[in-house]
Amino acid sequence: MASISIQHLYKRYGKEKQPVVSDFHLDIEDKEFLVFVGPSGCGKSTTLRMIAGLEDISEGEVYIGSQLVNHLPPKDRDIAMVFQNYALYPNMSVYENIAFGLRLRKQPRHEIDLAVRRAARVLEIEPYLNRKPKELSGGQRQRVALGRAIVRNPSVFLMDEPLSNLDAKLRVQMRMELIHLHKTLGATFIYVTHDQIEAMTMADRIVVMKDGVIQQIGTPEAVYMTPSNRFVASFIGSPGINFIEGKITDGPDGRLHFTTNRFSLPVAKDTAEMLKRHNKVDRRVTLGVRPEHVGPEGLYSESVFTAVFKVSELMGADRFLHLDIGQDRLLVARVDAHYRCEENERLRIVIDMSKALFFEPDSGERLA
């Protein structure tokens, strides 16, 4: 089993000046489940492929265990990879697909047979061992791809959006199975996805990336509750966080207020001190508030303002209200599914200001 150390990694294509991956620096612990998440084209797959040895490293170093692997071919890195399109060998049966890696490593025939059957049992694909990949459904192919990875018992698993070709229900099921697999195998997992829900549900730590640069590294809780900047805050969480532009002012009651043209909300005590420390009084800031911290009056005593109800989305247990707060800005609130209101009704809305986040309006950095 192995930890991975990635030191100031860069990837440039040809003579382009702008690197695709820029100063990627990260230590991954042994047996960790790490998820790279970010919008498409953010360099997460490229980073994974550099760890796998499928892309050349332009600058920087990658260590697996204590060994520098920059110039090691993929087969000598003790890794397995699961691809988005599964990449099953179409000319071989499921059995041969899983056994291929072991055969190339010249393992004895009976050991291969044992290993393939054990992997097939774990993944419940035993009945399909003699079929060709094209005779399998998407979920079954996914399991074969996983089987091909686990049968070699590598110390690192690399997964490049392995669930994105599955339907929604199967994806949820496979997510749980992957978590279970990670616990049973006790190997290091690096998982690439653009789906923040996958990242939140599976990761020990999340690496949020944008334009080839790491935005934040942290546990799912940390990334969700204390995002380092506006990008992370908006990328993680569904529905997305609400941003409101405004100004910090001294209120008549002697407390700091977050003020817009339409309303003024008192800032919580701790936050007020932080804002003073950053010298933000009478300056512009961006307020970030998660939909679950916005709701109809009655939840929180202070910080009430009015908004016009526009649309509601019922999600089963929750209902998302889209509220017009003036100047063509919509605020999303997460409320109980039983909540009812009329279209264009004026609602008294409260925000839990103790959970509010403040960001620099220009750089987007969170004030902390």
Binding site: P73, P74, A87, L88
Partner: protein
């Protein structure tokens, strides 16, 4: 059965619209037209002499006989070298040519398609350029090359002009372009060397294209008379197609031997047909995407 077909046709999903009907009709007519020479070859070979020279010529044989085949056998038994020797040469050269052409074309197409190296574009452009030359143009330089290499009158001279087949490289390269890179990467991570990736993954996935190239290579080699007439001095080194062409070459206004020529034409044609029928299933079968969603 007819009722079932009728019902099927009536189903709205399967019903052809006017344009499709027109296309089907046109293509059917074209297919029959393309089939005519083949039907003619088969019928002609079994026509007795009085039918061969009937005016106006008939398409179908009325009194089939083996007279022509017997004549051909009689002619060949009079030749200095037994026919079996010509046949051996042809089979030997054609088999080797198919193996070498498919092998070399695939080995050439794989790096052009799946590896980036300096000059790849130039190499591919050069290969495509050679497609533009008519075979007659290169006959003299080819003779010089073969003669300078000192391989005249050997099997190498039969094979050398055939094994570089630009159209084969082109077909295989285009086909390999469709193989997802992740398939090859998965194999590399599984521990395969580059040659194993080529042999165990790329080649099996490209089987349809390889079958197509094999058909072309076989037809090219089987019907080839050029190498026998230019590079071979000894009769026992020449191929069957050359031998048959000598039988039929001076027959323009001749009555004698027309029957043998008709039988020879059939014998030359049948292997082409057999190879095509065997391999055509492959051509239509497995696509590179079958293991990929």
């Amino acid at each position: 059965m007819l009722h079932f077909l009728w019902k099927r046709r009536r189903s709205k999903l399967n019903r052809m619209d006017g344009f499709q009907k027109l296309l089907t009709l046109l293509l059917s007519v074209l297919a029959v037209f393309m089939l005519l020479p083949i039907v003619y070859i088969f019928n002609h070979a079994f026509k007795p002499y009085h039918e061969l020279f009937v005016y106006p010529p008939t398409f179908f044989v009325r009194e089939p006989s083996f007279q022509n085949v017997n004549e051909l056998l009689a002619v060949t038994s009079r030749s200095t070298v037994p026919m079996i020797r010509y046949l051996f040469n042809s089979v030997f050269v054609s088999t080797l040519a198919v193996i070498l052409v498919t092998g070399i074309s695939a080995l050439c197409a794989y790096p052009l398609s799946k590896h980036r190296f300096p000059g790849a574009g130039f190499v591919f452009a050069a290969i495509l350029l050679t497609l533009m030359f008519a075979p007659e143009v290169v006959q003299i330089p080819r003779y010089l090359v073969v003669s300078e290499l000192g391989i005249m009158n050997t099997y190498f001279a039969h094979l050398l002009p055939l094994i570089a087949m630009p159209i084969g490289v082109f077909l295989l390269k285009q086909f390999m372009d469709q193989i997802p890179d992740s398939l090859l990467e998965a194999a590399r991570i599984d521990g395969a060397s580059e040659f194993t990736v080529f042999l165990r993954i790329a080649v099996p996935v490209c089987m349809p294209a390889i079958a197509t190239v094999a058909i072309l290579a076989f037809q090219n080699a089987w019907g080839n008379v050029e190498t026998s007439s230019l590079f071979m001095f000894d009769e026992e080194m020449k191929t069957f197609s050359f031998f048959l062409s000598t039988l039929t070459s001076n027959l323009a206004n001749n009555v004698a031997m027309q029957g043998a020529a008709a039988a020879a034409a059939l014998i030359m044609f049948v292997p082409n047909l057999v190879v095509f029928v065997i391999l055509q299933g492959k051509v239509i079968a497995t696509m590179a995407h079958s293991g990929i969603k």
